[in-house]
Symmetry: C2
Amino acid sequence: MSITMKDVALESGVNISTVSRALNDGRGVHDATRRHILSIAAKLNYRPNRIARGLATGRSTSLGLIVSDIRNPFFAEVARGAEDAARSAGYDLVLCNGDLDGDKQMQYVRSLMEKRVDGILMNSVSALNRRQQEQLARCGVPIVLLNRAAAPKAFATVHADNEAGGALAAEFLLRLGHRNIMHLTGPRRHGNLTDRERGFVRTLEQKTQRVEAAVMHGENSFYGGFTLASKLLAQQRRVTAIFAGNDLMAFGIIRAILEAGYRIPGDLSVVGFDNLELASVTHPPLTTIHQPKYETGRLAVEVLLRLAGTEKHQALEHKVLDVQLVERQSCRRLSE
Amino acid sequence: MSITMKDVALESGVNISTVSRALNDGRGVHDATRRHILSIAAKLNYRPNRIARGLATGRSTSLGLIVSDIRNPFFAEVARGAEDAARSAGYDLVLCNGDLDGDKQMQYVRSLMEKRVDGILMNSVSALNRRQQEQLARCGVPIVLLNRAAAPKAFATVHADNEAGGALAAEFLLRLGHRNIMHLTGPRRHGNLTDRERGFVRTLEQKTQRVEAAVMHGENSFYGGFTLASKLLAQQRRVTAIFAGNDLMAFGIIRAILEAGYRIPGDLSVVGFDNLELASVTHPPLTTIHQPKYETGRLAVEVLLRLAGTEKHQALEHKVLDVQLVERQSCRRLSE
DNA sequence: CTGAAAGCGCTAACAG
DNA sequence: CTGTTAGCGCTTTCAG
């Protein structure tokens, strides 16, 4: 079929193992023979078969990336960072959409392990039950998570400081004079969103007594935000500001508010989380908490590759990235 | 290290090849022995090594997906469709970001071929020069493109009817009474965008004589749209409507218009292309040409898998998917 | 510095 | 229906 090392060896008049050495590090091969072999390989247009190489070495030079849904712009950004980092290290990335479904995620993990990936980057394990998490923890492949781990010693993690971000949002809204604030977010027990919620609620509670803050949980998506906000507006509660679990939900919230005939920030202020590129395209442009998404993906594979290098998959790193408030035009100062 | 077929064979008291048969189709194995082997395999928690399998069979059960940039929501949607289809056929998807860069794309192709992927899904080949395209055409792996092929006999294709979409946009704007229309789009010679432009311009030209239509080319991104529109507005030309190459650019255009103090659709109408989920979140909601993105990805993988099945990679299919106008609130009828 | 040889884990004839 | 036997293409000791 295609050109193999054997062909190159035959043509070069050397042994196949010499070809192997020449083509890899090149160490321990006479410089002249190495150059000769290289030129023959080029002439024959030799292409290594990485899958054979993988069988022999036990490594596949590929990584798995399991995100909830690549259509979520946050994950797309992370994926890009991850792919760039993987690629520049010679690895490639297998994309998986876990849909926040424990069984589906485990299927992906199994499939990736059968392909002998050298590491797995995972969105979150909060959709997995106890048994699944343990199974994952001792699967023999390094894993890094994109949210805070429940069990810090089981997995490495790389994520933004979600709790601080939630606190930032709360402080900002309080500073503007808001006292009736809702938090519309995704499902309970969703790693990162839960941390944001905690930071937000805690700050509200400790900063002042006469604050009404309530949380509504829904689907983590554009439609989830839309639905939640529609429900809220129908209740006619006196709310002056909304903190969304993320920008995607904020977009849905904005849409619902505008469709209901209210104005932003005139009637309602809203702040998001993520700082997606499109956060500046809404009307009004969205005030939001910025987190370094691309960087998260990049860092996560760097950590992963470091783990994949060592024999012991220990020395788990836990990187937390800074967040910051990006003030645009979706919030207003409340008159006394 | 891990459990292999040999272990299962030893434990079951049969030959390794019987294990192989039992674990695969199961044909030609006595039902009782098969069940026995399966139970042993389960007990031992046996996991097949797909990379060894790949070496033996010559197939890897994985596909490559090369898109410009997964952060482009259009590609994210396509990728999701592709991944779902691949997964349900037992294949997995290797993600690559080609960045519209010919050399980078070819590097990806080479890397994918070294991993012996069974097929490649590619955004476009218009960034490749003649030599690269030919090289690609005879690389021995089935390829399907996501835009109209310059050489229809070299690659299979799956894409929306971009030319019809461009025509649709033109007809719509003309029907509303617009006569001074600009088309702001991405780089020249960008497969799909070029087709849209052609349909748009052709329709304008043949429907009426006294129409001014001009095209401005820029970067295919949010910022590209923003920049182009800013430039246009600075020129003070009398334009009443803008057709954007796609929604992402339309978002940038909208942002620029609003920032310059104009109103949509009061001062300027704009229509996009793609119908991204977020097209309904802008203010005003964007009128756009819908194309089936998820479906495109799904179909493309199906075509690819069909090609991967046959020995001869011929019988190239060319699927064109319908588009349609989605009227929202970013366009107005011109008073006489 | 180079060659010979064993083997990674699985499949696929070919016999029996 | 099952066992034997070659490999798939490459790496990696171990000798020379």
